[in-house]
Every structure is written in C-alpha cells, then in structure tokens.
C-alpha cells in the first residue's frame, strides 16, 4: 500500500465519504445510540473493530467466495465477528452492554459494514480493506461522538455521562448550570435528525467554501450508492 493510497483511504473514510454525513448510512444506531457522547463513541469503536477485521477477512477470501452467494457469506463473516464483540462487551463492559443493548448485535445489519465489504473489500487487497474499514469507522466515530455530545449538551447540559461505565474512575462533566431545564427534544429521535441535518449542512458549507477558494480542484469522486 503506497503512502498516497493510504492517504486517499483515510480522507475518504474520515471526511469525503463519511458514513454518517455523506453516505447517510446506518441511521438506526445513529438515532438510537447517540443520546450521549460515550454511547455514540463506544458503539462506533465496536463497529470499527468489526469493520477492520471483516474487511481484511473478506479481502483475503475474495477469490474463494462464490460470486452468486457472496452476500450470505459476508453476513456470516460479519455475524461471527459481531458475536465476538458482543461477548467482549458483555464480559468487560457489562453496564455499557446493558445500555447499548440490541444495538451491538445489530451491527451485523448495519449497512455501513455490508456496504464497505461489498463495495471495497470484495475488490481490494486485505491491507487496504482493513485500512478502509478502520477509517470508515473513524469517520463514524467522530460524527457519532459529535452528535452524541451535542445532543447530550443541549438535552441535559452534561458531557461524558456514562463515562464511569467505561473508565470507573472518571465522572461526567456538568457543563451547563445545574438548573438548566434541558431541551428534551434533543434527546429524542427528531432532535437527532435535526442535528444531523445541521451537521450535513455544516459539511456542505465547508466544502462549498473550499471549492470557491480553489476553482481548479479535481472533481469529487461519486459517493457510494446507498444500500437502503
């Protein structure tokens, strides 16, 4: 993997084809889990793990998997990995496991995972595929953390609530005054949609400003087709 290739994969995953604000994939965990920063970040970390290993696995097996039944095979590989992650969470972060609940097993059906396996790992060597999985996951990580943090801050006035479930010594931060009434809407799914819309608008605004600054920029690669 050349340096340039690596740079391209990283830029695609983290920004240019960001799963949440460009491809708009995996909205279900996004809406349900990002009620605070810690939940969003931890689910993203679990997804990163699954995506990295599944990308490498599928890429290694890509000449062995029959083309006609590739999707069931991908699902089996992903499901095996998700089971491992699920058991890991259950064993080591049991409190958080109870909070995230069904959304850890549901990583199997998260279309980001399947989309990257089908669109990238199935056609590229293992190393690149693993990197792609990691950086797509990192894109999801920062978006979900930002969204979770914003929702938590607006909805409750705190940050990092639930951090004690991951690092027992740490405590959540009370950012806004304790008598802040909290905008409950931000904690509900409509609030997640509105804030996600604002994030997408913010990204488009940055892009359009950058485009206006350098008119001779190469054209954007087409975004991957959605799977829903």
């Amino acid at each position: 993997m050349t340096r340039e290739e690596f740079r391209q994969i990283a830029a695609n995953g983290v920004w240019r084809q960001n799963t949440s604000i460009v491809q708009i994939l995996g909205l279900c965990p996004l809406l349900a889990v990002t009620t605070n920063l810690v939940n969003g970040a931890m689910l993203s970390l679990a997804t990163i793990l699954v995506m990295a290993i599944s990308g490498a696995a599928v890429a290694s097996l890509r000449y062995l998997i029959p083309h006609e039944i590739r999707i069931p095979v991908f699902i089996l590989i992903v499901a095996a990995l998700v089971t491992v992650v699920d058991l890991l969470f259950n064993a080591n972060l049991h409190q958080l496991y109870l909070v995230l609940g069904i959304f850890i097993p549901l990583i199997v059906t998260n279309c980001i995972v399947l989309a990257r396996v089908e669109a990238y790992a199935n056609k590229n060597p293992p190393l690149q595929s693993a990197a792609d999985g990691i950086f797509m996951g990192v894109g999801m990580l920062w978006t979900l953390s930002l969204l979770g943090g914003l929702r938590e801050l607006i909805g409750r006035g705190t940050l990092f609530s639930g951090i004690d479930m991951v690092f027992p010594g740490l405590h959540p931060l009370q950012i806004l005054p304790a008598d802040y009434p909290g905008l409950l809407l931000a904690m509900l799914p409509p609030g997640a949609f509105i804030l996600l819309g604002c994030l997408i608008a913010w990204k488009n605004w940055i892009e359009s400003r950058a485009a206006a600054r350098s008119r001779r920029r190469p054209p954007e690669p087409a975004t991957a087709a959605g799977c829903h």
């Binding site: 009434p181 909290g182 905008l183 409950l184 809407l185 509900l188 409509p190 509105i194 819309g197 608008a201």
Partner: protein
C-alpha cells in the same frame, strides 16, 4: 392553469397587507386575554415579537436576502404573536424565546424562508415546547388569579418561584384527568358544574378568549383574507366527532360546543389551518385538510396524552398537503373531469 380575460380589477394583496390584517384580527383575542389575566400577555407578545424580528433579520442577513423587504412583510410578527398566544400566558420568557427561535430559524428559514416552509412555524414551536417541557406548557393560570402585574412579570422573568397557585391545568386537561380518575363513575355534567373552572360553554373565561378569536376570524373571512373552507371544515371535523361521541355517551364525553370553545380550537381554525403556505391550496383540498385536522385534533385531545391536539394534528396534515393538493386539482375551465 386558469384562463380568464381582461379587464381585471386590481386588488392590493401584498404579503404585508395580508399579515397586517391577520395581526388586526388577533386583537380581539388579545383584548380578551388582557381583560381576563391582566397585561402580562402583552409582555409575552413584546418578547416574542422582538425575538422573532431579531431572528428573522439574522437569518436574512446570513442567507443574503434583502432585509427591508422581508422584515417589513410582518410574517415573522404573525408567527411570533401566534406563538405568544398559543403558549401559556405566564410561561417563562425563555420558553417563548426557544419557541420563536425554533419557528423562525429552523421551521421557516432552513426550509427556504417565507412561502417555502412545509410546516406551520407556530405549531412547530408549540410541538417542540410541549414535547420538551410538558410540565411548563401545561401550566395555565386560573382566570381569577388576583396576582398583580408585577407578580406576573416576576413569574415570566423567573424572579419568583413557580408556585402551584399560579398554575392550573387547562379546562380540557382538568376534564380529561377528572374523567380518568373517576373511572366511569364521574359524569361530565358533574365535573363541568364546578364553576371555579368551567363557565357557560367551556373553561370559565377562556371561552371568551375563544369567542374573541372567532370574531377576529370571521372578520378575516369577511375581508376575504381567508377562505371559509379550511376553518369551517376544521370546526366541522371537531364538532362531528365530538357530537357523535357525546350522543353515544353524554356522561363520558363533553358536548361539541365545549370542544369548540376549549383549548386551541378557535385559534387553530381561523389562524393556523388557514395558513396559505403550509396548508392546502385547492378549495377541495382545504376542506379535506381542515376536516382531517379537526378529527385528529379531537382524537389527540380526548384520547391522547397531551393537553391539546391542534398542533400535532396540523403538523401531521401539513405532511399530507402535497398529496391532497395533487388529488384535488380543479379541472381546467371548460373541460370535464380530471385536468
């Protein structure tokens, strides 16, 4: 497509003129409010107006639209006044500000500004507030609070603790709660006989505010600012369902007049479902829109968990407007059947 031949009569129908007439039609309702509760509601109106104009100016500047043209059309003021009147009159000032900001910034300008918003901004503000702060949004002062203007101001600006004496449920909410607690043993007639909350038709005092809205609305209709379709279909929708259930079981369901003069019915009928932007545009569509909104408002109000259903009913119907409009296009003049 409509073909007609000249000569035409010129009519002055600028946005500004329409909006000013709507504001004027709200004045009787505001007067009734002041007469019932004192001038505190005027403070809310001022807070809402100032906030709406500031938000409108900021958004116009950000979007690079002409400031004077849009700021002067009065549409932001109408939204602000409707929000101030739909919210509890002694709600804390920041609740009104949150509502107005949400309405102007998100519900209006992020959807493209005046004439582009699919949802009624004032109802968005109401829905946001009641979903986020259900307790504050359900505190309606009883009309005979002898608290002075200063006390009310202190309450609005958060300088005094919000004590229960200054806040009760709306007559609608009180009725629903009493019926639920009675579990079938308490009849509507018995509850409504309590004259400290209920008057001749509906909530004591509040029925006059509703009647004043009706008066303003009829004036708007007479001035041809609004057409009769949507408001009367809305009233019909509520009255039909309320009437049917009342005839079936008068002990458990209040009569139609109670529902027409309670909660947001009159304000909704003449000032919300008549919104030319977020409502239907075809005459038949307006009838469907109004009727369905009325039925939904009644169902949410009586069987739902929220004190009133007008806001949710209107927002749900707002989503259906493109579909309703599509199926109710009037035939082209001179042609038979479908356009």
């Amino acid at each position: 497509m409509n073909f007609s031949t000249p000569p035409y009569l010129a009519q002055n129908v600028s946005v500004q003129r329409v909006m000013l007439q709507v504001l004027a039609a709200l004045l009787p309702g505001i007067a009734a409010y002041v007469w019932l509760l004192g001038p505190a509601v005027l403070v809310q109106l001022v807070v809402a107006s100032a906030c709406a104009l500031a938000a409108e100016a900021a958004m116009l500047r950000l979007l690079g639209k002409p400031l004077a043209l849009y700021l002067g059309d009065g549409s932001a003021l109408v939204t602000a006044w409707l929000i101030a009147l739909a919210f509890p009159p002694l709600a804390p000032w920041w609740l009104i500000v949150v509502g107005v900001l949400f309405a102007i910034v998100i519900a209006k300008h992020l959807y493209g500004g005046l004439g582009q918003n699919p949802f009624n901004p004032a109802m968005i503000a109401f829905a946001v507030a009641i979903v986020s702060f259900p307790a504050l949004m359900s505190q309606w002062p009883p009309v005979d609070t002898n608290a002075g203007f200063v006390d009310q101001l202190a309450l609005i600006f958060g300088l005094a603790p919000r004590i229960d004496a200054m806040s009760g449920a709306t007559p609608l909410d009180a009725l629903k709660t009493a019926l639920k607690l009675g579990e079938g043993s308490v009849s509507v007639a018995k509850i409504v006989a309590d004259t400290s909350t209920y008057g001749q038709l509906a909530g004591r005092g509040w029925e006059w505010v509703a009647a004043a809205y009706l008066l303003g609305g009829l004036w708007l209709w007479q001035r041809k600012v609004i057409s009769a379709h949507a408001p009367f279909a809305f009233i019909g929708g509520i009255a039909l369902f309320a009437g049917a259930l009342w005839l079936w079981n008068p002990a458990q369901f209040a009569n139609p007049l109670f529902h027409l003069f309670s909660g947001g019915t009159m304000l909704g009928a003449f000032f919300i479902v008549t919104d030319p932007v977020s409502g239907c545009t075809t005459p038949k569509g307006k009838l469907i829109f109004g009727f369905a909104a009325g039925v939904l408002a009644y169902l949410i109000r009586v069987f739902g968990g929220y004190p009133d259903g007008v806001a949710f009913a209107v927002l749900l119907l707002n989503i259906c407007v493109p579909l309703i409009d599509l199926y109710t296009q009037p035939p082209i003049f001179g042609m038979k059947g479908k356009p």
